[in-house]
């Protein structure tokens, strides 16, 4: 049974902009899904339907079997944790710890369960030694990790990340990758919007490509970055990862990641 399901989803904003033009998507529990496409293709609009921040103009959103329209945002927040792109549009507490506690507290956690969730999240984000630090004394990239930790601590079955690696250096990106892997390893679902094709190819097992409010591609990195669909990718200003380009040039098939290319070369 699908954990998240979106059927015939249409969303028209107040000004008349048709941001989603009939989207059908089903995500099973434990999947790692990357959502890619240029700005304005509808990615953010789509994910905001998953926790009820936006309601469909037409169509249905189902979360864990329940119709999302029958649940409030606060209720959906216990099932779907959404991390926004800009940490400064969220951070308000005086210490890192207090900031991370906010989410789980809202969900009713307290005592040792709360402490454990917070510590775990801080550890994963590399902020364990900075519990008492003022968030604005952290650099921008660590504040982004703080925002991620604050939603991670809510331990929701679904984790949605909006551009988690934008503005991160190599180590920050690595941390994000490790978090995605840890969360998925527990059988939880991860959905991420990203512009980093290499990160997408290496971290996710399913890639969904959007353009002008519709899905144009949906499949494994192998199929989505294969040469026969590069035209579709390029139509939305995306470029396949280098490994995919070389794999095609060397005639060894679809190799979206460095590792897969090397494996094919070794075999071939």
């Amino acid at each position: 049974m699908a954990e998240l399901r979106v059927e015939g989803l249409v969303h028209v904003y107040d000004g008349g902009v048709r941001a989603l033009d009939g989207v059908d998507l089903a995500i099973a529990a434990g999947e790692r899904v990357a959502l890619i496409g240029q700005n304005g293709s509808g990615k953010t609009t789509l994910v905001r339907h998953l926790n009820g921040l936006l309601r469909p103009t037409q169509g249905r959103v189902t979360v864990d079997g329940a119709d999302a329209s029958s649940l409030t945002v606060a209720q959906l927040a216990s099932r779907v944790g959404l991390v926004f792109q800009d940490p400064d549009r969220q951070i308000f507490a005086g210490t890192v710890r207090a900031e991370v506690e906010f989410g789980p507290r809202n969900l009713g956690r307290s005592g040792s369960a709360l402490r454990a969730a917070v510590s775990e999240a801080l550890e994963a984000a590399g902020l364990a030694g900075d519990e008492g630090t003022n968030p604005y004394d952290l650099g921008q990239s660590r504040r982004k990790l703080l925002a991620l930790a604050s939603v991670l601590a809510m331990r929701t079955p679904v984790l949605v990340l909006d551009e988690p690696t934008t503005g991160q250096d190599a180590r920050g990106t690595e941390r994000v990758r490790a978090i995605v892997e840890a969360v998925a390893g527990e059988g939880r679902t991860v959905v991420a919007i990203s512009h980093d094709m290499r990160f997408v190819a290496e971290t996710f097992d399913r890639v969904v490509v959007m353009r002008a409010g519709r899905l144009i591609l949906d499949g494994t990195p192998n199929s989505v970055f294969a040469a026969d669909v590069w035209d579709a990718l390029r139509s939305t200003y995306l470029e396949p990862p280098l490994a995919a380009v070389l794999g095609d040039r060397l005639g060894v098939g679809s190799t979206p990641t460095d590792a897969s290319l090397i494996e094919r070369l070794r075999a071939g």
Partner: protein, 275 residues
């Protein structure tokens, strides 16, 4: 980028200031100089209070607010906005005077312990008309004048560009802040903040929303300041203006006439002249 290479050369064709810069307003009233419109608004507001009675302010508002608004095509918006602006204070002032006017004797209506009196009603109406006059005058100015028109005109007359910038930016800040508050609310709701529950819960939600609005605005100030400085903003003295709202001696005379008229009115009132 040394002298003489393509980047420092002239543009490919001779183009002047484009016509979309400083585009004149849609009506003759819009096209009046901002200072004229500001003077009119101020004088109207003060005169409405200074003139005694009920008829005086009503005639004034008709001539100085409603008439121009009609000519400028903004009457509908004016009425809506001016009412919105004035309503809270107008209603409370009206009711207070209607029921609690001191020394009134002619009773109109009794509701339990409080009494509405005729004297109270008269005074309440006078207050109401004046509040609406002030609100209308200010709103008319606001609806027919772009912030940039006013600040550029002031700059042309000698106000420091940096002061003008601050005035302009403050006006623009409000919609940006509202948008930011909306985004922050979304992020906090995504973390379980309940904005749909009891009043108490919603009150508790104020800090997680107001906090980042203010913190974020402060954090942005430094970056914005740097970007401005990188473009010569702090250079003392005047700057070049691409355009300025036109003025005329007729308008200047009119402004002086308005001001003198106001002074005369106030003097007459002080001297006890009934109006």
């Amino acid at each position: 980028m040394a002298e003489g290479d393509r980047l420092t050369g002239s543009p490919t064709e001779v183009r002047g200031v484009p016509d979309f810069v400083g585009r004149p307003g849609p009506s003759a009233y819009h096209r009046l100089n901002p200072l004229t419109k500001a003077t009119s608004a101020t004088v109207t507001a003060i005169a409405a209070v200074a003139i005694g009675g009920l008829v005086g302010p009503i005639v004034l508002v008709t001539l100085a607010v409603i008439g121009p608004a009609l000519a400028a095509g903004v009457l509908g918006r004016l009425v809506r906005t001016a009412l919105l602006l004035a309503l809270p204070i107008a209603i409370s002032a009206f009711l207070v005077n209607l029921f609690f006017f001191p020394g009134a004797e002619q009773v109109l209506l009794r509701i339990g312990p409080i009494t509405a009196t005729a004297e109270g009603l008269g005074f309440a109406l006078e207050i109401l008309v004046r509040i609406l006059a002030i609100s209308g005058a200010v709103t008319l100015f606001y609806l027919t004048t772009r912030p940039a028109d006013l600040t550029v005109d002031l700059e042309r007359r000698g106000v420091s560009p940096r002061v003008a910038f601050v005035a302009n930016a403050s006006v623009q800040t409000v919609p940006a802040m509202v948008e930011r508050a909306g985004q922050i609310t979304a992020a906090q709701r995504a973390r379980g903040l309940d904005t749909e529950g009891s009043v108490w819960r919603r009150v508790r939600g104020v800090v997680p929303i107001v906090g980042p609005v203010i913190l974020g605005a402060i954090a942005e100030v430094e970056e914005r300041t740097m970007a401005l400085e990188a473009r010569g903003f702090t250079r003392p003295g005047r700057r070049t203006l691409l355009w300025a709202p036109p003025d005329s001696s007729a308008q200047a005379l009119f402004r002086w006439a308005l001001l003198l008229g106001l002074v005369a009115l106030i003097a007459a009132r002080i001297a006890g002249w009934p109006s």
